[in-house]
């Protein structure tokens, strides 16, 4: 409605198409093409092949795929539990402590991931808690980095839940725990799923803290992609990138299919 002439509109839309195409579509397309290419000497790749995908799914890379997914699941589950618990607990606090703690729960996402990794190294490299070189430290690093997002998502969902539902439930005789299980949690289920999905996606792509703390044998996909491209095996790196994108999207899709029976407003 800003531009009234047809030629003006066509011009602007063409401009947008070029902009979005160059900035967003081209990179994705390039990685897609590179993952299938056997050789890339000229402008475009040549000799399409699936061998990069095969090597990406087996051996070291296959192990990294497994490690990423397991880490994602563990860290996201833990983050969902802690994030939901915090969001619920904060509701019953008076204003000032609530705002301070709200800030405290968000800060882990404001801090650079490398520093989080460094902190874990420094803190847990000696007794009594020795986690350096274990898989647990990777789980913890991912958990810390994504906890703020689960907390934020669940908080937003709780804020949008009309207090009527919980109050009516209470008036009908539901004690707090019964109300939590049968009314509150089912009604914020869409937000819980969204929080888990976002956390999982972030964990799959996490690099900064992982690269500081990962033990040999538990490299994740991002670490693997870096090692490959650093070595010059860019096509296999591209194939792993595609696997990363695809596996993330697939799991997100599956999560979005969970029936929630709560009509989204």
């Amino acid at each position: 409605m800003l531009v009234w002439s047809r030629s003006g509109r066509s011009l602007i839309l063409a401009f947008l198409a070029v902009l979005v195409g160059v900035v967003y579509v081209a990179p994705l397309a390039i990685i897609l093409m590179a993952s299938f290419s056997g050789e890339w000497n000229g402008v475009l790749p040549s000799k399409p092949t699936l061998e990069h995908f095969f090597s990406a799914l087996t051996g070291d890379s296959g192990a990294q795929l497994r490690a990423s997914i397991i880490t994602g699941m563990v860290a996201s589950s833990f983050a969902l539990v802690v994030g939901t618990w915090s969001a619920l607990a904060l509701r019953s606090l008076p204003r000032v402590p609530r705002r301070i703690l709200d800030l405290a729960f968000f800060i882990p996402s404001a801090v650079p991931s490398v520093s989080v990794g460094l902190g874990l190294l420094v803190a847990f490299s000696r007794p009594p808690i020795l986690l350096n070189g274990t898989v647990t430290i990777v789980f913890i690093a991912h958990f810390i980095l994504i906890s703020a997002f689960t907390y934020g998502n669940v908080s937003a969902g709780l804020a949008r839940l009309s207090p009527d539902f919980e109050q009516v439930a209470e008036s009908l005789g539901a004690r707090p725990f019964y109300r939590l299980c049968h009314v509150t949690l089912p009604m914020i289920l869409p937000y819980l799923i969204a929080a888990f999905s976002l956390s999982f996606a972030l964990s799959m792509g996490e690099l900064g803290a992982t690269v500081m703390v990962y033990p040999p044998g538990w490299a994740t996909i991002p670490v693997g992609i870096f090692t490959l491209t650093d070595r010059g095996e860019v096509f296999e790196g591209a194939a792993m990138s595609m696997l990363l994108i695809i596996s993330t999207l697939v799991i997100l899709l599956l999560l979005s299919r969970i029936p929630t029976k709560v009509a989204s407003r």
Binding site: S162, D164, Q167, V168, S171, L172, G173, K261, V262, A263
Partner: protein, 381 residues
């Protein structure tokens, strides 16, 4: 004092299906309840006695404290001072789930992730009632509100009126001692609302022992449904009484103006007429006779309240009260005409059957009213 509910004859003649599950309710007592938030007083020294089995309507403008009073009974608002009792039990410090209440809110708040039957069964399940009892109560309460067909549906498949009926069934399923209705019809269309008012009235007849506290800003609902009305203003109880008494003889100015429209004429009290027993007052030079009020002091300035439909066109030469006014505005509103007149500086509003002949502005008219239809009100309330 037994409840004297004015149901028109036709309805009471038809046999009503009284629920075979007896509801033995209890009364509600507010004792000097004060509620304040951060220095702002929302309810002040509020005392009220809601009797067993009556429908008490709490009405008032926004901010009058009526919703706060209801939520204090439910337990979602803590009184800063005062106690609340249900029956003989002081519930002020009890959590909501231990008070034995049933609540219906404006937006129904049916649990969207549960079917209708699970919604209605919710309270009983939460209290660990045995399975047979739950099934029996659910069936019974759905039948009571006429929604038995919808047992397996989800709330989103129902209309607003239907959802509200389920909300009522859900509240009744737990056999509450008192039923709290917080503007239950405000979210419904006008037509559905009228229907629901009838249904609530029928429900009250079917469950004679159930005490109901009904908060609304709609006077028609209050006048139709309530046995007694409590009018609230600025956090305080302004007047209390049976609906008809409050309407016909409002005790104060706020009640007169809030409950229905009122014409308020400033008058000076003269004397009681020995012959007729009526009170003589002087309005802008004219002498009027109104119903006697023992509290009226001679020589004081008061107001008399006359409802718009109590003013009629006066026949020429007819005896009785006579007011002369100049027509300022005439509005036809379908089933009545609303005429605004200026009478000695006071604006009067008259509601009549639709006029056949045109009435022009500037015309002088004589109005009359029955002495019984005028109530004396203290000028300063």
């Amino acid at each position: 004092m037994s409840i004297d509910v004015a149901i028109d004859g036709a309805a009471s003649a038809a046999p009503s299906i009284v629920s075979d599950v007896t509801q033995s309710g209890e009364g509600i007592i507010f004792e000097g309840v004060t509620v304040a938030y951060r220095g702002h007083v929302v309810l002040e020294d509020f005392s009220l006695d809601v009797r067993i089995g009556e429908i008490m309507a709490l009405i008032g403008p926004s901010g009058s404290g009526k919703t706060t009073a209801l939520r204090a009974v439910a337990g979602f608002v803590q009184p800063t001072k005062g106690r609340i009792k249900i029956g003989n039990q002081d519930v002020t410090d009890l959590p909501p789930y231990a008070r034995g209440i049933g609540m219906v809110v404006q937006n129904y708040a049916l649990f969207p992730h549960m079917r209708i039957e699970d919604n209605v069964a919710f309270g009983l399940r939460a209290r660990n009632a045995p399975r047979e009892k739950i099934e029996q109560r659910v069936t019974e309460c759905l039948r009571l509100v006429g929604m038995s067909k919808y047992v397996g549906r989800y709330p989103r498949e129902l209309s607003g009126g239907q959802q509200q009926r389920i909300a009522v069934a859900r509240a009744l399923a737990v056999e509450p001692r008192v039923l709290l209705l917080d503007e239950p019809l405000s979210a419904l269309d006008a037509q559905i609302r009228r229907q629901m008012v009838d249904e609530i009235a029928k429900l009250h007849r079917d469950l004679p022992g159930l005490t109901v506290l009904y908060v609304t800003h709609d006077q028609t609902e209050a006048l139709t449904l309530a046995d007694r009305i409590a009018i609230m203003h600025d956090g305080k109880l302004s007047s209390l009484g049976p609906s008809q008494s409050l309407y016909r003889q409002p005790p104060n100015r706020f009640t007169a103006e809030f409950l229905g429209r009122a014409n308020l004429l400033p008058v000076r009290v003269e004397a009681t007429d020995g012959a007729t027993g009526l009170l003589r007052v002087n309005f802008a030079g004219a002498t009027l006779h109104v119903s006697n009020d023992p509290n009226a002091k001679t020589g004081t300035d008061q107001l008399i309240c006359i409802r718009p439909h109590s003013l009629h066109f006066a026949e020429p030469e007819a005896p009785g009260n006579r007011l002369r006014g100049v027509v300022k505005d005439v509005q036809w509103q379908g089933d009545h005409h609303a005429i605004t007149l200026d009478c000695g500086g006071t604006t009067l509003r008259v509601v009549t059957k639709p006029l056949r002949d045109r009435l022009d502005r500037g015309v002088s008219l004589d109005l009359t009213f029955q002495p019984d239809d005028a109530t004396l009100i203290a000028a300063s309330t």
